[in-house]
């Protein structure tokens, strides 16, 4: 049980009296990648910084690889926790070159300068930024800076990686490439990772499991598939993607845009249409409420048109907060 890479037992953290995390329980198995998904201010960064050792818990414990490293009465300092971290704002030292930055953790492990640099050079080569080895952060682009930041984390040779929104400051076109690199390298190390992000697509795409955070509390934990298809409430559903709520005779149900399609036995009027590139979104005024439907290709109808539609799938919400939703098909069409 406690050979998990990370275990949080009832963790609570507060800033000057205001609670930032409340009673968080979480485990990350060895080699597992867990995403922390939540809006800004939900406590993602606080959680990572508490695991790293920059904040002390008010209550609860942090266990790393079977060792208790933090409790209210004290804990290990960050440098003795053996975790690696990639920061949102890169946190590169302006006075050090890329090479010396990546060599830094090895130096702290006690390696000689030349050894540490050789090791760092190997990492930079693997990340395909060896040609930037002698540049300082001010001479690097955002994507390059974050690669160096990733290199520094890799050099730590840790059993647990903490990624604190590493792509948040990157341009869209750089983001995908960097993320791919990050995932590949993490997989190579075989280490566990905790990946904080506010981007649902990123969280669902990278993680083995996803943790939804709201106002410092865990709302839901599950595989990406689970949190997407079976959200605990509307809030959780909207956090992980677009969703419409229809009110039928049996109560409220949740419908993802791709769970319905145009054509079929029901009719509705189109309130609005958006072209999204690979697909188009139609907002339908149905008798049960407004429904967003996603269809591949360019728009085939205009606002005001009356169209036919079919419900393929839905997820029943109980209305009562805290109760789990359940799969339902009572609204589903005969098809």
């Amino acid at each position: 049980m406690s050979t998990d890479a990370l275990e949080l037992r009832g963790l609570s953290v507060s800033y000057g009296g205001a609670p930032a995390l409340t009673d968080v329980h979480l485990t990350v198995a060895a080699g597992e990648m867990v995403a922390l998904l939540g809006p800004s201010g939900s406590g993602k960064s606080t959680l990572l910084h508490t695991v790293a050792g920059f904040h002390a818990p008010r209550a609860g414990e942090v266990w790393l690889g079977g060792q208790r490293v933090a409790a209210p009465e004290g804990g290990e300092p960050p440098e003795r926790r053996g975790v690696a971290m990639v920061f949102q704002n890169y946190a590169l030292w302006p006075h050090l070159t890329a090479l010396d930055t990546v060599a830094y953790p090895a130096r702290r492990r006690g390696l000689r300068r030349s050894q540490a640099r050789a090791e760092a050079m190997a990492i930079l080569e693997r990340l395909q930024v060896a040609h930037l080895a002698h540049r300082r952060p001010s001479e690097l682009s955002g994507g390059e800076q974050q690669r160096v930041g990733l290199g520094r984390a890799l050099a730590r040779q840790a059993a647990l990686y903490l990624f604190d929104e590493p792509t948040a400051h990157l341009d869209t076109h750089v983001r995908g490439v960097f993320l791919e690199e990050l995932l590949t390298r993490r997989r190579e190390t075989g280490a566990a990772a905790l990946y904080a992000t506010h981007d649902a697509e990123e969280a669902l795409g990278v993680a083995d499991r996803v943790v939804l955070l709201a106002a410092g509390r865990v709302v839901q934990v599950g595989t990406p598939e689970e949190v997407y298809r079976r959200p605990v409430d509307v809030w959780a559903a909207r956090l992980t993607g677009s969703a419409s709520v229809l009110t039928g005779p049996a109560g409220e149900v949740l419908v993802r845009p791709e769970w319905a399609r145009l054509g079929g036995d029901r009719t509705a009027q189109i309130a609005d249409v958006w072209f999204r590139g690979p697909h188009s979104d139609y907002l339908l005024n149905t008798p049960d409420g407004r429904l967003l439907v996603r269809e591949p290709g360019s728009p085939r109808h205009r606002a005001g048109d009356t169209v036919a539609w079919t419900l393929l799938e839905s997820w029943a919400l109980d209305g009562a907060p805290g109760r789990r939703g359940q799969e339902s098909s009572n609204l589903a069409g005969p098809e």
């Binding site: 933090a70 960050p78 590169l92 953790p105 702290r108």
Partner: protein, 537 residues
């Protein structure tokens, strides 16, 4: 603006060179070989080096220690560290003598006296204590701007312990700020006058500044006059020789520092409770360097006669009664008026220059401002005296002129910094929303600038209030400032009265400072710009 700089800075310098050339060329050899001249120059340079070596690390350590948000009593410590700025330097020097000198406070109470306090060692220590707040402020601003908490956290996460982080990350990041602080402290120490005069001169330890004073105020020998001019010129040469290359070297790097949002709550510390030790150490330092000397000063002021122990049975207000004379009250009013005038004019001028700087034409004014900053007070005073003394010699106007020239940089820096930080979009937004230029200025520019303006005004006002380097050379009948009264009293050797005057002057400065501090906090304006008031980049 250029004309103003020409009149108060350039013309006096030219006039000095001319006078030295015309009157001194014949007997330059005699002047240069006057006894003690070489020693004074050596003393000044050694003093500046020693004080820089003490004050800059001290200030940096304080800045690093005080960054911890979880330090017990941090708010008080932050105030306490800046306190020496508010105590006039010669009052600080004088109170050290009263506290630790022979027959001083510790001598009376514990039988412990520091024999070397009157002399080079004492002067060095007290000038350093006086310079520490300055170094602290520059280092703190540097820390806030460059050493973001995440940089140190990254190092901790990379496996470095607190000490290693300090060595490999924090201190290297502080490099440019420390270099700036070093230049600043060096130049200011070079021009420092009051502490060497009060603590060093009685035992024959002379610096260039005290020698200029002695030559001008103590000697009627024409050669002494020429020597004063030469020394004043030499002082500015040394300052420029040190500052110019350093500015060239460091200027771009200093200016390139990005200003990150400072996060006072963030610390790079671990999860451990920080040392009460740090608080205790800093408190002890403040107590020894400022607290005890000021207590000794007050005790001396209250003690009935010299040679009696400073115990309540010997207490009296006689010394205070003796110094509250019509003449001293006039001097006090004059000082307040001068400081008020200087601060108000400077804030307006500073605002103008800051606005000008945004235009291409105004770029060079920044350099001129820098020049007035480097120019030691003694040099400026000598230059003004020989340029305008004939017409303004006996009025307070010449002192006002000197204040305007000398304090220019003090007003300019914080205001210009605040103007630079002003997002240009805000002005555009108000214009687009229908505000006329004046309304835009009043509604969206002045308000965010207010803390900087208040800070600049306060710094100028307080500095002018206890300025003595220049006014001691420039005052005449009917234009004595209060600080000059205190200095003269100290030189006459009237211990009780000097202490009483010093206490009054310190109160005079602490009262408006406290009031403004309260007002600034009340207005909910961040006092942050004051911390940049002395930044030299």
């Amino acid at each position: 603006m250029g004309v103003a700089a020409l009149l108060v800075v350039v013309l006096p310098l030219v006039k000095m060179i001319r006078t030295a050339w015309l009157e001194g060329s014949g007997n330059l050899g005699d002047v240069v070989s006057r006894p003690g001249l070489g020693a004074a120059v050596t003393h000044s340079i050694l003093l500046a080096i020693a004080v820089t070596a003490l004050a800059v690390p001290g200030g940096a350590l304080l800045a690093i220690a005080l960054r911890r948000s979880d330090l017990p009593g941090r708010r008080l410590l932050l105030l306490g560290v800046l306190l020496p700025v508010l105590v006039p330097d010669f009052v600080l020097g004088y109170s050290w003598l009263r506290a630790y000198g022979g027959a001083g406070f510790t001598d009376d109470l514990l039988g412990v006296a520091w024999d070397g306090i009157q002399g080079p060692l004492g002067v060095t220590v007290v000038v350093a204590v006086n310079a520490v707040p300055l170094a602290y402020v520059v280092a703190a601003v540097g820390l806030a701007a460059r050493a973001e908490p995440s940089l140190e956290r990254a190092a901790r996460a990379a496996g470095a312990g607190p000490v290693t982080v300090l060595r490999t990350i924090t201190v290297p990041l502080l490099g440019p700020a420390l270099a700036a602080a070093s230049i600043l402290v060096f130049v200011l120490t070079l021009g420092t006058f009051a502490i060497p005069q009060v603590m060093g001169a009685p035992t024959g330890f002379a610096t260039v500044t005290t020698r200029i004073y002695a030559n001008l105020s103590r000697s009627s020998d024409p050669a002494a006059f020429i020597e004063a001019i030469l020394l004043a010129l030499l002082l500015v040469v040394i300052a420029v020789v040190v500052v110019a290359p350093a500015d060239q070297l460091l200027g771009p790097r200093l200016r390139a520092t990005r200003t990150a949002a400072t996060d006072p709550a963030a610390t790079a510390g671990g999860t451990r409770k920080p040392g009460r030790w740090i608080t205790a150490t800093i408190s002890g330092y403040l107590l020894l360097t400022v607290g005890l000397p000021l207590v000794a000063l007050v005790a001396t002021a209250l003690t009935q006669a010299v040679g009696l122990s400073p115990t309540p049975s010997n207490w009296t207000l006689d010394n205070f009664r003796a110094v509250i004379t019509v003449r001293n009250q006039e001097a006090l009013g004059r000082s307040a008026l001068l400081a008020l005038a200087a601060a108000s004019i400077l804030v307006v001028l500073g605002g103008c220059v800051a606005a000008l700087e945004r235009t291409r034409f105004g770029r060079s004014t920044g350099t001129l401002v820098m020049l007035t900053f480097v120019l030691p007070g003694s040099t400026l005073a000598v230059g003004l005296l020989i340029t305008y003394g004939r017409w303004l010699g006996d009025t307070a106007l010449i002192i006002l002129l000197a204040y305007l020239a000398k304090l220019w940089a003090f007003a300019h820096r914080p205001i210009s910094g605040a103007v630079d930080r002003l997002p240009p979009d805000e002005l555009s937004a108000s214009r687009v929303s229908g505000a006329s230029p004046l309304v835009a200025l009043r509604t969206v520019v002045l308000r965010p600038l207010a803390p900087a303006l208040v800070a600049a005004w306060l710094v100028c006002f307080l500095t002018a209030l206890h300025e003595v380097t220049m006014s001691s050379l420039l005052y005449g009948p009917g234009s004595e400032t209060f600080a000059v009264v205190v200095l003269n009293s100290a030189e006459l050797g009237q211990v009780g009265r000097t202490s009483a005057l010093s206490v009054l002057l310190t109160l005079l400065i602490l009262a408006p400072a406290g009031l403004c501090w309260w007002a600034v906090r009340r207005l909910d304006l961040r006092p942050a710009p004051s911390s940049e008031s002395v930044d030299v980049d």
